[in-house]
């Protein structure tokens, strides 16, 4: 791969790395690099969340025949920054009769779990903070922590609405985590690795979605549905169903603590889309066609992070589209969907994928000249 990629950030990053390593002791070099990465991740986290909040409000408005925020700045672009400032300076209301320690700890669980997951996402070539061999299990593990925050928030608020919301959330999360994990595992079977960077690399000429065709597409749809359900959004927003529970588990939170839940909700939506992009849609890899070197080179001029955000953006749009088209589910319909539909289909699907891979029925097996990476 010796195409020129003028806009990639890998050059800057490696320059920085060499500079630190040459001038500092290994300990301090690691320390400073770690700190920089942390700052970069947190900054990206906040900026993406703000952007998503703005985008969601705008797109929602367009779906609903409205204009959305349009007072602050051109087209209302600084609306969500103003909202952030408002949330930052808002009073954190002290509530009597709550378990103070758990009440204040709960938002951190939610936000930390989503930051941890966020760190593992490959945003572009060389833009990945954590790249474990077991990347996918790591993503599943880190995101599974969030539900504890929701449960504790609901319980410690000492509010009946919150409690019902938390219990719903617990049931919902535990169920849908299964489906999400299984559908990711389907792709692990296909690509033979759990490392996110390798999964992206393997999809150079054929996205997993197409390479694994039928089972991969089923897995993709199931992952989107269950990921959606895990983030408590869209038709699955039962834990905070404002219709009956006012705001569910975060009814009693105010100011920055509510802000944490709010940020985490949006970021989780992004994470689900980003993981789906990475695993199914080739991640940051530009569209490549084997043999068309000129075309490939043109594609490489578009930097990898643009590809990543574009693909993720499409999935986020899909998520918003679904959210604003459907009514809310009921808890038994929700569990029915998971246990009677998604999970059985998923189990059959994973078996199908295994058979397909063993029998060599993937696209790259059928047309190695077009799709396989190795000749």
């Amino acid at each position: 791969m010796n195409y020129s990629q003028p806009l990639e950030l890998t050059g800057i990053i490696s320059t920085l790395d060499t500079f630190f390593r040459n001038n500092l002791t290994p300990f301090w070099a690691t320390f400073i690099e770690g700190a920089l990465i942390l700052i970069a991740i947190l900054a990206a986290y906040a900026i993406i969340a703000l952007a998503l909040i703005y985008i969601e409000r705008k797109i929602t408005a367009f779906f609903q025949s409205r204009l959305g925020p349009n007072r602050l700045g051109k087209y209302g672009v600084i609306q969500s920054i103003a909202d952030m400032v408002k949330i930052l300076i808002k009073e954190i209301i002290q509530i009597n009769d709550v378990d103070k320690f758990l009440f204040y700890a709960a938002p951190f669980f939610v936000i930390i779990s989503s930051v941890l997951t966020f760190g593992a996402i490959p945003f572009g070539m060389g833009l990945q903070a954590v790249d474990f061999k077991i990347g996918i299990i790591y993503v599943i593990a880190a995101s599974s922590l969030g539900v504890i925050g929701v449960l504790l928030a609901g319980w410690s608020s000492n509010n009946k609405y919150s409690m019902i919301g938390a219990m719903r959330s617990g049931a919902q999360f535990v169920s849908y985590e299964l489906s999400a994990a299984f559908s990711l595992m389907t792709i692990v079977v296909l690509s033979g690795t759990m490392q996110l960077s390798e999964i992206v690399e393997n999809q150079r000429y054929a996205w997993n979605l197409f390479n694994g065709h039928i089972p991969a597409m089923i897995a993709f749809v199931i992952y989107l549905i269950s990921g959606h359900a895990e983030t408590n959004r869209g038709p699955f927003d039962l834990p905070e169903a404002e219709g009956e529970l006012t705001a569910g588990y975060h009814t009693e939170y105010s100011g920055l603590q509510f802000g944490f839940f709010y940020l985490a909700e949006y970021l989780n939506m992004f994470i689900i889309a980003a993981v789906a992009t990475t695993v199914f849609l080739g991640g940051w890899m530009p569209i490549q066609i084997k043999g068309l070197d000129a075309f490939n080179q043109v594609m490489w001029y578009i930097p990898s992070y643009v590809w990543f955000f574009a693909k993720t953006g499409v999935l986020i749009f899909l998520s918003l589209w679904v959210r604003w088209s459907f009514p809310r589910m009921r808890i038994d319909l929700l569990l029915n969907l998971e246990w009677k539909y998604l999970l059985p289909i998923n189990l059959v699907n994973i078996l199908l994928m295994v058979l397909m891979v063993l029998a060599g029925w993937t696209l790259s097996d059928w047309f190695p000249g077009l799709f396989a990476i190795a000749p």
């Binding site: 367009f62 779906f63 409205r66 219990m167 038994d332 029915n336």
Partner: protein, 205 residues
Amino acid sequence: MLKFHFIRKIFFILLDTNNFKITQNIPPSGFRGADINNMNPFIKYISGIFTAVKSLLGGMLVTWRELWRKKVTMQYPENRDTLVISDRWRSELTMPHDENNEHACTACGICMINCPNGTINVISKTIETEDGKKKKILDKHIWDYGMCTFCNLCVITCPSDAIIFNNDFEGAMFDRSKLVHQLNKPGSKLREKKPLTPKGEQKAP
């Protein structure tokens, strides 16, 4: 601490499949899916999925089309110039004065009597005219914007068509006392009798 009794219950609901209503057995009237009553369970299961997905996609198509349509939001302060308020819109009670600062109110008080909730207060005073006769004329016509229910009774009962509702809808104030309007302008007086116009012309434009 009763809630834990309840929470135990919630858990059993989640486990108890008897509670799960089977909602797709009987198609409701107007249901578009295939008749799923007389099928074997597996086909029923599969066709259930497809009917559901089809209906959901149909819903998404509607929102998709909406995405590209013209938006209906009116941007109020900006559209002041083009904003059309219907002629009959009742916002503020006024007493039209002509160029001589004369109005048509004879201070008869019928509007005050007819007002259902005492929004109007007609204060009259008695003066002596040039020819020595005592005459009741209008001193103050007070109307409380904050109390008015805009039932239009005062306007339709006014025998001399002295008051009408106008279109100035921007009546919000920071101070409640500013909502109490005096309708007659200072120094105004009763218009001399003119040839009568047919009654009701002003009321129903």
